[in-house]
C-alpha cells in the first residue's frame, strides 16, 4: 500500500476533518521517514550494558520528538534502570485521558553476519525499511506521536487528553517498570491505555488482540545421596535423583497432554461457545503452522483445537532438565542431583502465585521415598490478561480498523505473555487496547528485521482516527 492508497482509504471515512490530517501527513511524509531512520540509527539495545548510553540517547531523541509534536511537560524519568519518557497534553476537559504505551529499546542483533545490511544503518529496499527495531517497534512508536502532531497542527487541539509512557527496558522484561509505575501511578492515571506494540493479521486483514496468557515458573531441585555414587555398588538400591525427577515430572501430565497438577484447572474460566466461535473465525493453516514449527504432528489437551489451546487454555512446559553425566561415552554414575525448570502459561482467572503453590504441593505429594525435592519460584511471574470484547476501547479500535481495511478485524487470543497489560490494569485500573501495525513476517528479534513503509503511513492515519473516535465517546 502506498501513501496515495492510504489517502484514498482514509477519505472514505466519516470524519469530516480527516482530509486536512491526511494532507498534513502527506506533506510531511519525507520528514517523518527521515525521523524514523534517525531513530533506527540509535543502537538502543537494552540487554547489553555497553549500549546503556544508546538507550539513554534514544530516550532523549523520543523526548525531543514529543516536544516537537506539541506534547507538553516532556520528561525523561529515572527508573533505576533504563528510563521512561513521559509527556502529556491535558487540555480536553470532559474527554477521556488516553495513555500511549510503547518502548524505544530493541533486541540484540546477533548473529550480525546474517544481516543483509548493517542493523543500525537503515536500508530501504522496495516498500521495506530494514533495521533492528524497524518492526519492533520504532515505527509503531512514532505513529501516535506523528498523529498527535498532525492533530495539533491542523486543529490546534487533541480530541482526548493524552499521556505517553515510553519505556527503554521492554526487551529485557521491564524489570523496574512495576515498582516505577506503582510509585508514579498518579502521573500516569488515565481511562485507557493504547499499546502501540502490536500488529495486524496480514497486509489486508486487521486483527484485535484481546488477551494474553500469564506466566508462572518454578525450578525443581531433587537431591538424593550426598554425592554421585558408583552404579555398580549402589544401583538398584540407593535412590537415583534422575529417576525421582522423571517420576515427579511424569506425574504432572497425562500422555494426552492434560495437566494433572491437583487444582490446576480450578480457576480457569472455560471457553464459552462464543469464545470458541471467535477463535474458530480466525483462519488457521495447520499445515503452515506445522511447517513453521518443524513438526508433523500436533499434540495437546483433548477437546480443544490447536488455537484454543494456544489462546484459551493453560499449558505447562518443562523448559530445561539436567542431572548427572552429560559428556561423551559412558559413565556409570548414580546421580545424586537432578533439576528441571518448568513454566506454565496461564489463562483467566489463574493466579501465578496460586499456580506455583499448586505445583509445589504436587511436587511434595509426588516425591518418591529417599530423595528431597524443592520447588523454587522463578522470576517473571505474570497474570493472564483478558479485555472485555465489548470494551469501548475495543469498539473504537474495531471501528477504525474496519474503516481502514474494509474488513472486520479478527479477534485474537494471544498465547504469549505481555506483563505490562495486567500491570496497567492492576495499577491504574485501565485496560489496554493493542493498536500496532507490525506483520508476522517482519523478522522481529531476528536478522533482517524490517517494517513496511505502507504500514508506517497507514498507522499514522489510523492513530488520528482512533484518537478522534475515543474523543467522540
Amino acid at each position: 500500500m502506498d501513501a496515495d492508497t492510504s489517502d484514498d482509504r482514509s477519505t472514505r471515512g466519516n470524519m469530516p476533518e480527516m482530509s486536512n490530517l491526511t494532507s498534513y501527513l502527506q506533506e510531511h511524509r519525507s520528514r517523518f521517514l527521515n525521523e524514523f531512520v534517525d531513530l533506527l540509527r540509535i543502537p538502543s539495545i537494552s540487554a547489553l550494558p555497553e549500549h546503556a548510553a544508546d538507550v539513554q540517547r534514544a530516550a532523549e531523541w523520543v523526548a525531543s520528538r514529543l516536544t516537537t509534536a506539541g506534547i507538553e511537560r516532556v520528561q525523561i524519568l529515572p527508573t533505576g534502570g533504563h528510563p521512561v519518557v513521559y509527556g502529556e497534553w491535558l487540555h480536553a476537559p470532559d474527554k477521556p485521558t488516553i495513555l500511549i504505551y510503547g518502548h524505544f529499546d530493541v533486541q540484540p542483533v546477533d548473529p550480525v553476519d546474517q544481516w543483509t545490511s548493517p542493523p543500525f544503518e537503515p536500508a530501504i529496499r522496495g516498500d521495506r525499511i530494514y533495521a533492528r527495531g524497524a518492526s519492533d517497534m520504532k515505527g509503531n512508536l512514532l505513529m501516535p506521536i506523528i498523529a498527535a502532531e498532525a492533530l495539533l497542527r491542523t486543529r490546534g487541539s487533541l480530541p482526548v487528553n493524552l499521556k505517553f509512557f515510553l519505556e527503554g527496558q521492554e526487551e529485557i522484561g521491564s524489570p523496574q517498570i512495576p515498582s516505577f509505575l506503582r510509585e508514579q501511578r498518579d502521573r500516569f492515571a488515565g481511562d485507557l491505555v493504547i499499546s502501540a506494540d502490536g500488529g495486524q493479521y496480514s497486509d489486508d486483514q486487521p486483527a484485535l488482540s484481546i488477551s494474553c496468557r500469564g506466566l508462572a515458573g518454578v525450578q525443581i531441585d531433587v537431591r538424593g545421596a550426598q554425592t554421585d555414587l558408583h552404579s555398580g555398588m549402589y544401583g538398584g538400591v540407593v535412590p537415583n535423583a534422575i529417576h525421582a525427577l522423571v517420576e515427579i515430572l511424569g506425574s504432572m501430565r497425562s500422555a494426552d497432554g492434560t495437566i494433572r497438577i491437583e487444582g490446576f484447572y480450578d480457576d480457569v474460566i472455560p471457553l464459552s461457545e462464543a469464545d470458541r466461535a471467535q477463535i474458530a473465525a480466525v483462519p488457521f493453516d495447520e499445515a503452515q503452522y506445522k511447517r513453521d514449527a518443524g513438526v508433523d504432528t500436533l499434540v495437546g489437551e483433548p477437546g480443544y483445537t490447536p488455537m484454543e489451546r494456544v489462546g484459551g487454555r493453560p499449558s505447562l512446559d518443562v523448559n530445561g532438565i539436567w542431572g548427572g553425566f552429560e559428556g561423551a561415552g559412558i559413565k556409570t554414575v548414580l546421580p545424586h542431583e537432578a533439576h528441571a525448570k518448568i513454566t506454565c502459561r496461564l489463562v483467566p482467572n489463574q493466579d501465578p502465585d496460586r499456580v506455583i503453590e499448586l505445583i509445589a504441593a504436587h511436587v511434595a505429594a509426588h516425591t518418591p521415598a529417599g530423595v528431597t525435592a524443592t520447588t523454587i519460584p522463578l522470576p517473571g511471574k505474570a497474570r493472564p490478561y483478558l479485555m472485555p470484547a465489548d470494551h469501548p476501547g475495543n469498539a473504537a479500535a474495531r471501528a477504525v480498523l474496519e474503516e481502514l481495511y474494509g474488513k472486520t478485524p479478527y479477534v485474537i487470543r494471544g498465547g504469549a505473555t505481555i506483563p505490562v497489560m495486567d500491570l496497567f490494569l492492576t495499577t491504574l485500573g485501565a485496560h489496554t487496547v493493542t493498536f500496532g501495525f507490525g506483520l508476522p513476517d517482519e523478522r522481529y528479534h531476528a536478522p533482517d528485521e524490517f517494517f513496511r513503509l505502507a504500514s508506517f503511513e497507514r498507522g499514522q492515519t489510523a492513530y488520528c482516527m482512533l484518537l478522534d473516535r475515543l474523543g467522540a465517546r
Copy 2:
C-alpha cells in the same frame, strides 16, 4: 599383622615345604618392600597421555622384575595402546597352567592437594604405605611374582605352569585388551586365571568373589521440532522433547523399582535358596551402607534384600539427562531436543547386546506421537560373570584363605563390572579366581590411597600356598 604373625600362621599349614618359603620371604623382606616402593614411584597413569611413557616404564620395570624372579620369555607386547607384559614358566608337565592377571597402571591423582604426602613419593606411616597404586594394585601385582621367585629359589621349580598377563590399561577400561587377547589366545591359553586385582572383606575375615555384573548402556536422543520454540506460541500444541523423554524414561521403571522393559528379566537366572543364603551369610550393616551413601532410605525391586539387589539382580540407572535451558533464571523455551544416558548392570544369563535391543524396542514402542527417539549403544558393554562356587580354583582359594585366616571366606557377589573375567572365559575358556588382599578402606581411586604392609606380606605367603594347592590337584 606383622611378619612374625604371618610366619606363625603359615607354619600352621600342612605344606611341608612352607617353612623354607617363609624363611625366604622373611629374609628378602626389605628388598621386596624396596621394590614395591620403586614401582610405586612410577606415575603410570594410563588415563593421561602425558604419562604414556611412565606406563611404558612401569611395563619395563615389571618385565625386569619377572625376569629376576626366574620367569622366562618375558616380553613387553604391543597392543595398539598401553602394553601388556607377558612371561611364563612352563616346566611342570601334567600340572595345570595358571594365568596370573594384574595391571600396573594407576588412576589419576586429582585432587592432588588432598594428599598428605605426594602420591608418587611412597610414605610409610605405621603399618601402611601411602601412594597412588598402593592398594590398586601394585602391591597385589607383586605378590604372585614374589611367590614365584620364592618357590623357584627354594625348590628350583614351580608346582604349576605359570603365565603372566599384566596390562597397562585397566584403569581406562582396557580398550585394546579384547582384540589383543583374541589375537594372542594361544600364547595365553591356560586352565585357570588368577586375578590379583581384588581384596578381602576385612583384616581378619577373608572373602571369595564369585561373580560380577555385566554392563549395557545406551543414549536416548529425542527430537521434536526443528529448533527450540517460543512456549507462548507453541506450548501445549507442539510436542516438547523433554516431555517425551520423561514419558519414555518413566515407562521403563515402576515406582517400586521394577524394570518394565519388555523381556528385560527373561534371561535372568533366579537366585536359588542357596544363593540367597550365601548372600545373607555376609554381614550387611544397612545403617553404615546408608551413611556411606548419604541417604536415609533404600529403594529397589520388591522381594529382594539390598545385597541381593546389588549382587544378584539387574539394575537400570539413568546416568545423565539434559535438554533445553539450564541457565539461571527463566527462559520460556519449548525444547526440541532432550537426551539421556542409561546403563544397566546385568546378571547371568543376560546378554548386553540383547538388553540393548530390548531397550531400543521399548523406546520405539513408548515414543509418543510427534517426536522421534533414537537409541544408540554406548561403549563399555560387558557380559555378567559367575564362577561355579564348586570350581576347583575356588576350592583351592577357599582352602588357602581358611588356613591363613582361620575362618571360612564369605562368598561375595559383586555389583560392579569386571569385563576381563568374561573375556578370559569366552576367549580362553578359563574361569578367573580373584585372589587379592586389598581392604575396603584403602581409598583406591582417591587421595591418600594406602596398602597395609601386613597384607603385602600375607599375600606373598598366600600365593605360595595357592600355587602349591593348584599344583596338588
